[in-house]
Subunit: 600 residues, 2 copies
């Protein structure tokens, strides 16, 4: 690949970051004072080049030569390590961390934009870095100084890698049923025993060590969310001088073989099964992070960021699939348009066909919309962490709470659909492994499943995020949408029409939300939570598209016209989907609840 | 697999064939006089067993060990041939053929039901049989007695296999741009030269010979649909005594490596490139089928049947994915329902969650609806071919014309979505290759592409099938729907409500259809043909579900309750999707038409 513009559009990123989100303004704040537009630009340049040169070239190979278990060791595509090493060398693994930890104190919004390049190029290889960064940030937020020194700094250097060990074979979405146990030993460390499932990056030899963050139960309970704590369980113990010590009792039980995302090794790990016994102890040695019983709270603290990353990865996959199908549609001749059927004329490029354009506009609306939404949320993270005044910070947090399930789920659902449209634009060729889009489709299919399934986020949004604090979250979101709508009065008929459609949908969403929250029976109230998530998602995206229309100002180049056509597409073809969904929610339909499973 | 009920539901097939479509009545007709319900039942039993015992067991292996090119020869999974031989032994390859050709004169509707078992079990292996049967029927309809004897009878016996060679590398959907040439030789045969692409079953050693049906150009034109004729081009020439003769000049150029449907070898073939030169002639020897210039008409004559088969295969894949995810949801414990969060209680099976039920009902509505629609259409084929009076036959043909694009495209779109929901019900496990559903998902993704893409069928439906004969096709369909609606007056509130919703949607469809047909500009008229196809599809399916409600009568067992819940799901969750689609169509939206591709 010669041109990183088959991965993402730099012009779009510049528009979103600068013309819309005005990230340059952040440099007025103390935390970001050493930055400027030019440092932001330089970082994006580096990421685009690195993604194109070191990540994209082995994306297919990591798929066809998926991780293998050879003599009990994980063998990865050998191209993965040099790519991750090159990424570590740039310092991007600690990009958002404090200066005192060697970090760049980069705004999260710029970091997410930089991450999108790698996800577009090779989401599987980038997965290792993403997990390592998430793990590091959790320890930075909740761990001790010693834990940070011993485990985080080597992760920032790319020498150690990190994982998150939450799920178990019997408990995927249901963390209350975690069975892994941690027993306090005399030396103040813990001994862990249990099995963890779906552990990405759970074993490999990409660096010197792997730092597992493990959710385990210290108390006597056998279920429930209380008593769950988080532990650092390294693959190899780390001596006080930072050197690598004994092997800890973390054993690779097996690999999961997946539909896509194959380059990220996915494992079953056994903790404390006696395969390795460091110091003769029974159980894997673990170090408690923060206070006992705080495990879930610590996790959720970092979850917003991780879920945004999943949304951004989904957006990036949809984005590159869109750009590739666009390039194909521009060059591949096929048939003739209606009314111009003279077979003596040459065939026209695919992009001349209305239905192909519809599929391209749909993809563009999903990919650019999803990227914009996740960047908006990352900007809220920056606001939450660095706003000069507490009320702004609190409000950003409130908006983030309500937007995060959408920012994770909407890109996961619609950019997957976008990759399917990218296949369709390619026709039969798109169904072959000679083109990239089928892999993007398979990789994308994971996104509605991991980091909380679609259904889990739906329950989170309707059952918690929109109802907590007496509905403050949905109210804040609604205020933001109304503020945007109010700013459109003098911007011409197309923008006004978009604002009017959004205004109707927004009002209906608020109305239906109140109706649902007022219903006494939680089973009925939540029965169609997934439809609520999807309707709210489309309305939020219509708002994000309106925001972009406003940010275009009176710009009238090809870029601006493309944005306007895409916003028009979204308003005309996509937003109307929500009306029947909200009607169904308002009807308190109990089809699913009243069903006897024996009838299926 | 011990139970064929993980492939399809025999109870549902019996309901559809007997209670609803009353296929037993067909045995009153001379063509089917030797049949009875018991012969139909016996054939379905044989197919269910064979599918379970010989087809399902190697479905995964054909995917993981896809066809390979070894020393210029295609090496297939060795389990494929015994399965096809067993199928041939049952006589099913000539099931619908005339007695005089050794056929069983089975109604097409029963044949399609029998085919669905094999597609559910192993669509890739069944693909070879499907192609062979389609090829045979075309030659039976248009070929000479000698061609039938020489090529068709060995195909019916399973000794020869058949292909359809239409697409070319530069012309997928655009048959007007076919470049393969056929030159009349002195001996009355033709010599073909050209390259054909996407040829399923194009080369292999499953039998003694492969009979290619090749679309080629005899005249001087370089494009256009006139002058296209169809030729039989066997891999090996066949002597007058039926013995295998010289190798013909058909050369395997390469294999296509696909996302799914991997067990069906897909090839690029070169005709007449001089690799083999039978009798020293230049070009592959071909035999004209019927009259010159009739190639497209002959093809379209068999297309209805082939497209129904694609729809039925899509339905079968969606069906087995549904049944497998249902079985999983019934046994896998996961979490607790809202309002019953006591973690001391054991986890409940997935099927207790409303959102899981929603996904199961959606799958059931797609799979059972799609199967019902394709069987209904196959019943129309029988009517077209055997109705005692000409007007009934003509009307069946008219309905088939308008329903076929829907019967191909709707199952392809929605049962693909169903397989995605089947993955989602399985959670992370569904994303692994340890379960079948990811393969069903990949296999299903072909269906909206082959045998005419989604967009091609959309243009066919809106641009031809609904407008031809002054709109007679859509009018006939509308009459059928109104007749069904009229039959519901005394069937209770649920059926009446379904009928009322369908009546509104049907009326709106007719209104929008007229408005579109009246528009003078074909580009504007057809710009959103895909939305028209999708809206018409959902309305037709709401009708098919109403038909099933009526056929249930006052039956009130678990089966009937399941059907009623699923019909209710379809009416409440699915049918409302069409209103915004029809509104957009009525607005004559030109977003896609007015777009300048440079803006993308």
């Amino acid at each position: 690949m010669k041109d990183s513009n088959e991965l993402l559009s730099r012009a779009d990123l510049d528009f979103l970051l600068h013309d819309w989100l005005r990230v340059g303004d952040l440099t007025d704040r103390p935390r970001f004072a050493e930055h400027s537009r030019s440092t932001f630009d330089a970082i994006l340049d580096v990421c685009a080049d690195l993604a194109r040169d070191r990540f994209a070239p082995h994306n297919r190979r990591s798929d066809t030569e998926e991780p293998k278990l050879v003599d009990g060791r994980v063998r990865l595509n050998p191209d993965v390590r040099p790519a991750l090493d090159a990424l570590a060398e740039t310092g991007l693994l600690s990009a958002t961390a404090d200066h005192q930890l060697g970090g760049l104190q980069l705004p999260r919004v710029v970091h997410l934009a930089s991450a999108a390049w790698f996800a577009a190029a090779n989401v599987s290889t980038y997965g290792y870095a993403m997990l390592t960064v998430a793990n590091s940030h959790l320890i930075c937020a909740h761990g001790s100084a010693d834990q940070i020194n011993r485990f985080v700094l080597p992760m920032f250097e790319g020498r150690f890698h990190g994982t998150m060990c939450l799920s178990e074979p019997q408990a995927g979405s249901s963390l209350a049923d975690t069975m892994t146990r941690a027993r306090l030993a005399d030396d103040g460390t813990y001994r862990l025993t249990g099995t963890k499932m779906w552990i990405s990056g759970g074993d490999h030899e990409l660096g010197e060590n792997i730092v597992h963050l493990v959710l385990a139960r210290t108390g006597a309970e056998t279920s429930g969310v209380r008593g769950l704590s988080l532990f650092i369980v390294p693959k190899f113990l780390v001596e006080d001088d930072g050197s690598i010590g004994e092997r800890n009792d973390v054993t690779l039980v097996g690999l999961n073989h997946k539909l896509g995302f194959r380059g990220t090794v996915n494992t079953v790990l056994s903790f404390g099964d006696g395969t390795h016994q460091p110091g003769g102890a029974a159980g894997a040695i673990g170090y408690l992070v923060g206070a006992p019983g705080e495990g879930l709270a610590q996790m959720f603290h970092m979850m917003n960021a991780v879920r945004l990353e999943v949304g951004a990865c989904a957006a990036a996959l949809g984005y590159t699939a869109y750009l590739k199908s666009l390039a194909y549609a521009r060059t591949r001749p096929q048939g003739r348009t209606p009314g111009a059927k003279d077979a003596n004329l040459p065939q026209v490029p695919l992009v001349e066909h209305a239905d192909i354009r519809r599929m391209l506009l749909a993809q563009k609306s999903y990919a650019e919309g999803a990227l914009a939404l996740t960047l908006y949320c990352a900007r809220l993270l920056d606001e939450q962490e660095t706003a000069p005044e507490q009320p702004e910070s609190a409000r950003a947090g409130l908006l983030l709470d309500v937007l995060t399930p959408i920012a994770k789920s909407w890109p996961s659902q619609w950019c997957l659909h976008g990759t399917s449209l990218a296949i369709q634009v390619h026709g039969g060729y798109g169904y072959t492994r000679d083109y990239d889009v089928e892999q993007h489709y398979r990789d994308s299919r994971l996104n509605p499943i991991h980091e909380g399934t679609h259904g889990i986020h739906a329950l989170d949004l309707l059952g918690r995020k929109t109802s907590m604090q007496d509905g403050a979250g949905i109210e804040a979101l609604d205020e933001e949408m109304r503020r945007t709508i109010a700013a459109t009065s003098s911007l011409g008929p197309e923008v006004s029409a978009h604002a009017a459609d959004l205004d109707r949908a927004r009002a209906r969403l608020v109305e239906v939300t109140r109706l649902l929250h007022a219903h006494p029976d939680p089973v009925t109230r939540l029965a169609n939570a997934s439809l609520y998530l999807e309707a709210a998602g489309h309305i939020v995206l219509a708002w994000i598209w309106l925001e972009q229309l406003i940010a275009l100002g009176d710009r009238d180049d090809a870029f601006a016209r493309g944005k306007r056509s895409t916003a028009h597409y979204f308003r005309s073809y996509e937003l109307p989907r929500v009306a029947p969904q909200l009607d169904l929610l308002a009807s308190l339909d109990r089809t699913t609840v009243d069903l006897d499973p024996a009838w299926l």
